[in-house]
């Protein structure tokens, strides 16, 4: 399993792991060095990595991937409620539930391709969301979201120890999963997922998926049954989403229906395109950028802006605060919109293309990044 990776891939993998593991220190100057956001970086990184296995490799654009994330979350929280606060079973349940759900939806949706496939996945996700919000409230707790309560059975935990007074914490064999330990758990999962994704990208299976994206007809006349390939990719990427969902529950034991809404599915599409479709690292970068903006830009308020521009003369300061105020705080959506437009207009290959261009400018010809890019193929599919 560990054989056959090229030296460049090992370097990429080790570099990636290192960057993830030291991110609490490196991201602190940017205001992102706190556990909740770092956890989100990892979780959405996993979500986007998985989405990219489907979209980046096969070109099938699912517009309902958030449904799997939601199912993973619900399954994980139910595991906390019914069995144990240990995160390992909950993660397993989350992945399994999302995987099963993906088998069903994938089997039906993959009967169509192109935009018809997209709309089918969208329809299933929206149905899941609407039902979770209303009729399925006994399972999902509707708008409030599924939460832990004091009188949950938790049969495994309660078999070994008397329940404490308050709500228990999620844990990994005794280590609390909030704060930095939670981040390192997610980071571990992200690194494993990255490794698996890299294996898939470099494997014959990944090659077949790329070939399907390039010319599905040729694949059929070349003797491949493309349906199981597509379904496998769909289910794998659904399981990644399920893992991401269960990690969300592990670090913060709540599952809300809005995780399944179309906007959430749209978000992962945007993360992937922003980072670079079909590239290995791109989707993780895209996820990071979007989550960073959501959390950091929205937190700016007039007070912080005034502090920021305090060095300017009074009149200028007011103007600067007014201008910047358009883009931060409640205007962070505007910034996001502008960034989407700029990236698509000037960097169609996403952030990874930007990096590649910079590398070229600097005259650095790193083989790995070139291989990375060509593997991704510069053209995102429809």
């Amino acid at each position: 399993m560990f054989a056959n990776l090229s030296r460049n891939d090992w370097l990429l993998f080790l570099g990636f792991s290192l960057v993830v593991l030291i991110s609490p220190w490196t991201l602190t100057p940017f205001g992102a060095g706190y556990p909740a956001l770092l956890q989100k970086f990892c979780i959405f990184g996993i979500f986007a990595l998985g989405f990219n296995i489907l979209f980046g490799l096969t070109g099938y654009l699912s517009f309902g991937h958030a449904a799997f994330l939601g199912v993973g979350s619900y399954a994980a929280v139910w595991s906390f409620k019914l069995f144990t606060m240990n995160v390992v079973p909950s993660v397993i349940f989350g992945i399994a539930a999302a995987g099963l759900f993906a088998v069903v939806i994938g089997f039906i949706s993959l009967r169509r391709s192109g935009i018809y496939f997209s709309i089918l996945t969208l329809a299933f996700a929206q149905m899941s969301y609407n039902l979770a919000y209303s009729v399925l409230t006994p399972i999902t707790n509707g708008e409030t979201g599924l939460q832990l309560t004091l009188n949950d059975p938790r049969i495994i935990d309660n078999a070994f120890a008397a329940p404490g007074a308050g709500l228990p914490q999620t844990n990994l064999f005794g280590i609390d999963m909030s704060g930095y330990p939670g981040f390192y758990f997610c980071a571990g999962a992200l690194i494993i997922c990255f490794f698996l994704t890299m294996r898939i990208f470099r494997s014959p299976f990944g090659m077949m998926l790329r070939a399907i994206k390039s010319n599905q007809n040729r694949m059929r006349y070349t003797g491949f049954n493309t349906k199981p390939y597509l379904l496998t990719a769909f289910v794998i990427s659904g399981m990644y989403a399920g893992l991401a969902g269960s990690l969300m529950a592990a670090t913060d034991p709540l599952a809300g229906a809005e995780r399944m809404q179309w906007t959430a599915s749209g978000e992962v599409v945007l993360m992937t395109i922003l980072g670079g479709v079909g590239t290995l690292v791109g989707p993780v970068l895209g996820a990071g950028v979007i989550k960073y903006f959501e959390n950091i830009f929205s937190s700016f308020n007039e007070g912080t802006l005034h502090a920021t521009f305090a060095f300017l003369p009074d009149g200028l300061e007011t103007v600067a605060v007014k201008l910047a105020g358009l883009f931060v705080g409640d205007g962070w959506h505007l910034t996001l919109g502008v960034i989407f437009m700029l990236i698509v207009i000037f960097l169609p290959g996403g952030i990874m293309e930007g990096i590649a261009r910079l590398a070229k400018l600097a005259g650095v010809k790193r083989k790995s990044s070139r291989a990375e890019l060509s593997a991704g193929s510069a053209q995102p599919a429809e």
Partner: protein, 255 residues
């Protein structure tokens, strides 16, 4: 002819599109190890015939029997796995992938079958398949460019690449739909050489071609299709002498 060495047997196949009868009661036997050319004017139904053979189109009536197996309800990939490969009129290749990948992919189909979830190994570790692919690329004269993207090739090169993709599968039956159309004279001659070399390896081929130079330098047998019917069949000499053929086809094309 005995039925044992009959690779492909097209029996009474008819196909209509709307009111248009593309094939009517076509009977065609392809003998093992031969090069069988199908010629005929535009719109005679040649491509439809090939489409029926690879399962792209289901015939209205009649059957296609390949290697003793009736293909009626077979999916295209199943037919290919039985040993039928096709070169299309407009090249069907993986434009976003390298030439090497283009040729390795069909090799995987031959080795691993229609589906195998092989995410454990790395492509780079498959030395045998890679070597074979490089050999095929040398065969079709594209080894130099093996790392280029297939989409960047000239039309003639794309067609040769597609031929390589079919060859690596070592099919029992290779269908070629106008393999030299739009090629320069030089490319055409290279292609003829390639096909001649293949002939020595004993692969059965069905070839649709307009270029009579190509047809007569390669074919063992020729069938002439006009308006969805086979109007003549025989050795090149017999066909060349057939007055019906002259009337329907050769006459106009040899002007």
């Amino acid at each position: 002819m005995s039925t044992q060495n009959m690779v492909l047997n097209v029996a009474d196949v008819s196909k209509s599109f709307g009111g248009l009868k593309a094939l009517s009661d076509v009977d065609l036997q392809i003998e093992e190890g031969t090069v069988h050319a199908i010629i005929g004017p535009n719109g005679a139904g040649k491509s439809t015939l090939l489409n029926v053979c690879i399962g792209r189109i289901t015939p209205d009536t009649g059957h296609v029997i390949f290697d003793g197996e009736v293909l009626d309800s077979h999916q295209p990939h199943e037919i290919n796995q039985l040993g039928v490969s096709r070169v299309f009129q407009t090249p069907e290749i993986f434009a976003d992938l390298s030439l090497l990948d283009n040729v390795m992919i069909p090799a995987f189909a031959r080795r691993d079958g229609a589906f195998r979830f092989n995410a454990i190994q790395a492509v780079s570790g498959q030395a045998d398949i890679r070597e074979e692919a490089e050999a095929v690329l040398r065969d079709v004269g594209l080894h130099e460019q093996r790392h280029a993207l297939a989409g960047s090739l000239s039309r003639g090169d794309k067609r040769r690449l597609e031929m390589g993709m079919c060859l690596i599968q070592r099919p029992k039956l290779l269908l070629l739909d106008e393999p030299t159309a739009g090629m320069s004279r030089h490319d055409t001659n290279m292609t003829i050489d390639l096909l001649k070399r293949l002939k020595q390896r004993g692969m059965t081929k069905v070839i649709i071609e307009h270029d009579m130079h190509v047809v007569f330098s390669l074919a063992d047998r020729i069938s002439v299709l006009a308006q969805g019917r086979i109007i003549a069949e025989g050795s090149p000499e017999e066909v060349r002498a057939d007055p019906k053929v002259k009337e329907a086809y050769l006459g106009e094309s040899e002007q």
